[in-house]
Structures are given as structure tokens and as C-alpha cells.
Amino acid sequence: MNDALAAINQQYADINNYYDQANTAFESQYKSYYGQNMTDTVNSMAQNDIFESPVSEKALNRQRQALTEQYSQAKSTLAGEKMSALGSVNAQKISYYQNLASLQLQQKTAKRSGIGQLIGTGAGLAAMALI
């Protein structure tokens, strides 16, 4: 049973490690993605002869807004997946403790049955000793 508990705890550690790595990778990729998209937007406006002006600023801000929305959506999706994974492991742990208690109760019942037989036999022998 201790091996089962160790395996469950290892799942916790693995999930945390995985999502830490996933978040780090996402941040790095998003940074590149953000920069690339902004560059593409500036280049696109330049090709249309739109340069530094309030018009270009509005266009760039809209692009920034869209990219940030993507960022928040991706972050919350990753977080939700991690929550779900941890919840699943938690349910396994509850089931483990439940099974452990059940086994301990069965052991206890078996031991007490043996004691009960001893007491009954002893009482019977005591009855015979009174003869």
C-alpha cells in the first residue's frame, strides 16, 4: 500500500513539473509570437503607406488587444487543465485511503474473531474446572 501512495504522490510531482515546463514554454513562445505579429502588422501598414500616425497606432493597439486576449485564454486553459489533473489525482488518493481503512478493518475483524474464540474456549474450560 505504501507503494501505491508513493506512486500517487509521484503523480502530483509529475503534474506540477509538467505544467511548470508548459508555462515556461508558453511564455517563451508567446513572446516570440507577439513580437512577430506586431512586426507583421507594422510591415503590412507600411506596404499600404500607413506610417506612424494615430491611424497606425489604433491598428497596432487592436493587434495588441487581440494578442493579449489570446494570451489570457491560453493561460486560463493551461491552468484549468492543471486543476483537472490535480483533482483526478486527489480522487485517487481519497480512494487509496478508503481502501487502506477497509483493509485495516478486515484485519482487525479477523484478529478479534480469534480472540473471541479464545475467550469462549477459556470460559468453557472455566466451566469444566468448576465441576
Partner: protein
């Protein structure tokens, strides 16, 4: 002549060991006393705990309390993890929002736009981003609720099993008592039954009223399995040997 403890007991209680009724009463008394002792012993919670300690057995309460504590501890850890995930995520989103606002302001100033334009752009951006943040916060809350529902189902299943275990333990303890008393009663009953079917001791009473003929008969018969004779009843008629 020294008397044995059982003889002393019978003398005290006025029981004559030579009668079947006295034997039955003695056996029954032993069974009742033994059963009473066992029952009072078992019904004593302190003795019950002592038995558990002597034989190294955990009590049901300690087993279930430990399991409940472990499960509640696990659930508390999960709640802490969920809260931390939510805080970290919303914190990262807000940090990104602040970073982009700074970029907007710096970009406007770098292009020579006045501060009013820059501020207006910031406000517009900030307003639209709040919608994205709210969406993200809703998604996190939904994920948290789903996880808590899963955990809640597991906890509910555990508490149902907990109640069932406590009930089974109570039934088991009653069965133990009944089984022990049944064994005592069965043993006592077996002894009583045995005493009622037992062949009485063989005795050949010596009486001065025996006729010479009877003395001759007794001396000639083999010393095995001879029923006792009551001199008041008709003795065994043995034909006399007639001498020619």
C-alpha cells in the same frame, strides 16, 4: 480427609455429587458463571481497549479517524493548489496587461504623439482587455468548480463507506459476543448431556445379609461389567449343582 475444591464448593452449596440433578446443577452453574464473566468483560469498553492493546489491534475509531484526517488533509492541499493556480494565472494576465499598456504609451510618445492620444489609446486598450480578463477568470472558476465536484463525489463516497464500516463494526461486535456466549452455552450443554448419559460407577455392596450361596456366586464370577444388586430385590437365581 482433605476435601478437593470442588467438593468444598458442593458442600457449601449443598449439592450432593452422587445425584444426577446435582451434577447438572454444578455443570450449569459453571456455565452460567463463565458466561456471565465473559459477557461483563466484553461489555466493558475499557477491557475491550485493553484487549486491543494486548493483541496489537487498532480500534475501529482510530482506523476511521486516521483515514478521515488523511482525506481531509489531502482535500485541503488540493484547495490550496487550486487557489494558488488561480492566483498565479490571474496575476500573470494582469502583469501582461500592465506590460502592454506601457508599450502603448511608450509607442505613442516615441512617434511624437501627444499624451492625450497616448492616454486615450491606453484607456481604450484597458477597457477592452477587461473583457478578456473576465473571460479568463470565468474559465478558471469553471475549472475549479469541476475539480471540486469530482473531489466532492469522492468525499461523499468515502463518508458513505465510513458510515457502513461503523455499522458493520457494531454488528461484528454483537456477533462476537453472541458467538462467545454460544460457545460457552454449547460447551455447558454438551457437558450436561454427557453427564446425563454417563454409565454410573460399578459398585458391589458388601452386606452381612448375603446368603452363603450368593457369596459363592460372587466369588466365582469374573470381575467385569456386573450390574449392582440390590439385596432387597430378588437376587439372581442360580441353579444349585446337585451332587450325584
Amino acid at each position: 480427609m482433605a476435601t478437593s475444591p470442588d467438593e468444598s464448593l458442593r458442600n457449601i452449596l449443598g449439592l450432593n455429587k452422587d445425584t444426577t440433578a446435582a451434577k447438572i446443577a454444578t455443570f450449569g452453574l459453571g456455565g452460567i458463571v463463565g458466561g456471565g464473566l465473559a459477557l461483563s468483560w466484553l461489555q466493558n469498553q475499557g477491557t475491550d481497549n485493553t484487549l486491543n492493546r494486548i493483541f496489537g489491534i487498532k480500534s475501529t475509531a482510530s482506523i476511521l479517524n486516521k483515514a478521515t484526517a488523511n482525506i481531509q488533509g489531502t482535500t485541503a492541499e488540493l484547495n490550496n493548489d487550486l487557489a494558488k493556480i488561480g492566483t498565479d494565472t490571474t496575476g500573470a494576465i494582469k502583469a501582461k496587461e500592465a506590460e502592454v499598456k506601457t508599450q502603448i504609451s511608450d509607442s505613442a510618445k516615441a512617434r511624437g504623439l501627444n499624451s492625450e492620444v497616448a492616454n486615450a489609446a491606453q484607456q481604450q486598450y484597458g477597457g477592452s482587455l477587461s473583457g478578456a480578463y473576465a473571460t479568463a477568470a470565468r474559465a478558471l472558476a469553471q475549472a475549479k468548480a469541476n475539480v471540486r465536484a469530482t473531489t466532492g463525489r469522492a468525499m461523499s463516497s468515502y463518508y458513505q463507506g465510513l458510515a457502513e464500516s461503523q455499522f458493520k463494526d457494531m454488528v461484528q461486535r454483537q456477533a462476537e459476543r453472541a458467538g462467545i456466549l454460544g460457545q460457552i452455552g454449547g460447551l455447558t450443554g454438551a457437558i450436561i448431556k454427557q453427564s446425563m448419559t454417563k454409565t454410573p460407577d460399578i459398585e458391589i455392596p458388601e452386606t452381612k445379609t448375603q446368603s452363603p450361596t450368593q457369596q459363592q456366586v460372587y466369588s466365582q464370577l469374573p470381575p467385569t461389567g456386573i450390574p449392582a444388586l440390590d439385596t432387597e430385590l430378588n437376587p439372581i437365581q442360580i441353579p444349585m449343582r446337585t451332587e450325584a
